[in-house]
Symmetry: C2
Amino acid sequence: MKLLAKNATGRGTGPARVTAWQVARRAKVSQSAVSRAFAGGAGVSSETRDRILAVATELGYQPNALARGLITQRSGIAGVVISDFGNPFLSAAVERLSKRLGRIGLQPLLIAVDTEDDVRAALSTLEQYRVDGCFVISPHMPQKLARRYHSVGTTVLMFNPQMTGLDASFVSVDNVAAGRAVADFLLDEGHVRLGYVHGPRGAGTDRDRYAGFVSRLEERSAARPAVGWGEYSYHGGARAMKALAAQSPRPTAVFCASDIMAMGAMDVARNALDLAVPEDLSIVGFDDAPPASWPSYDLTTIRQPMDAMIEAGIEILLDAGPDRTNKPTQRILDSELVLRSSTLTPSARS
Amino acid sequence: MKLLAKNATGRGTGPARVTAWQVARRAKVSQSAVSRAFAGGAGVSSETRDRILAVATELGYQPNALARGLITQRSGIAGVVISDFGNPFLSAAVERLSKRLGRIGLQPLLIAVDTEDDVRAALSTLEQYRVDGCFVISPHMPQKLARRYHSVGTTVLMFNPQMTGLDASFVSVDNVAAGRAVADFLLDEGHVRLGYVHGPRGAGTDRDRYAGFVSRLEERSAARPAVGWGEYSYHGGARAMKALAAQSPRPTAVFCASDIMAMGAMDVARNALDLAVPEDLSIVGFDDAPPASWPSYDLTTIRQPMDAMIEAGIEILLDAGPDRTNKPTQRILDSELVLRSSTLTPSARS
DNA sequence: TTGAAAGCGCTACCAT
DNA sequence: ATGGTAGCGCTTTCAA
């Protein structure tokens, strides 16, 4: 009687879902046995386990991850908050991260955001799904939010946020050091009039890159760079380049805070401003996104060690597991200047 | 007594989660009332509802979406299976789709795949999470799988699959017609030796585009095109272009089955083969991905109406809801040839 | 309008 | 090794 009543309700969508109960009955075991068989097989003899699995495939049984998550307090879901798929570095990061998460049994719940409010809403949604952790790849993550979510129990791991004084977990490259390296490189190349293309106002990455760039210029007594604003987008970079080129004297080298902006800048320089790169104008990007190495751009850029960053991020997320210390973890990795033909190579000079 | 016992177990990760019970107790109502208050407020007086919501925010209560999904049989999750983020058209599609889903209360669970086996595994995972529907944006979706999943109750909606004889739901452009349009255009331009760059072997989109292209060439008694294989990737397109250029006589116009391949082809033509585009070589792409309109490419291409396709896809998914008919729905939209400067414009001739 | 009670499908802890 | 049982946190009848 009771067995028949189980899942006999006609409710639900479409063809009734197979449950562990039905598998159990068919295999003449208890429902607990089915659960154990699917939980790695500990506590079941291999014969019964095989029988159970056979029946399960026969019936097309798939364990309900929602029910499992409810009881185990682990959803198996990781949140990924991302802004700007148009940036090839970020979309590549999402792909790599997604695959990496899958390999450790975490499924990424993806939320695309634009504004700070979007991030807020996204984190709320992710909290409702009881995500086991959460990556935020967006310049819009407000500091307070980060701290709050950290204390509420969901580990929020930021990808390249503003580092200075941030009391939350993140993984980043040393943007300040990278900015300084670019300054040194361009000055060593003999450039005097420099330009800088900013990302969106308030983006921590941009702020740090700029700070490093300018501080090194000052240390070496170089003039402050002319600046443009490019929103971390192709068209923004193009617009900023036009503005910079209108200055006089025009900069002979421009450092863009991201590759996608550098690509826009380079295209507009060549096609609209009739400037040869690198002869008339050197361009340096940031990220080493896949298109940076395409022959038409072949962009000198700061390489962010994407895989290492993802690895570090995953590590932080996992370490922050069940018995978490509630102490934010931060990892700052080294970046690397990759020389290509959008700048004069040092060997070509002298 | 019983109330105190509720959620008093110290288990779980981090700070104990706030449940509806705790909100209920604090607001001096039943737990059902809390549930109703969060379900739109039907069945609760506005006073009690306000009190409940106040207590909820005070306690930081967030309803558990897993539990809700378990009881309602609607997870609120939509699966998105995607291959190849390197393709700017596809990554843009994921972004748009993700935002569109969010607006109707569906959260996208993203799975990045490479092979057909990956797709199989992905669908299995998505089934465990009891997704309310699922988008597959991959050339690797096998027909049988599609049919099986459709009959099991999860609506699987394919984005641009192989259309011919497919007994499953999908949304697509008419790839055959598009291929024919490109053939007409290039022949009208006066080209005689044509080339075609394939996507991955077995991709339905590629097959249909090629079939349309060739059939129209035949109808107009033109020679069969020389072909290369480009895997729907930038570097693949570049390799294929090199191979095509080695033929003699060399094609004067090449149709690439995706924009990203066309970009690779164009770059290699200009930078390695020293061919001017469009003077020496015309190039036509497919998708109208964002970079296609960048000045350095300015690619003549077939525009896929992405937003309309997503809209149609969502519609199919929603229509296939609770009382689903189990009948696959298919929507084929029109595409459009966008003329840019990677081909000689008709007006420029004659 | 409200509260009590019955599960959704699973895991985990008991007994045996 | 196995089966019974108690929930995970919610929605949804059903009475009051």
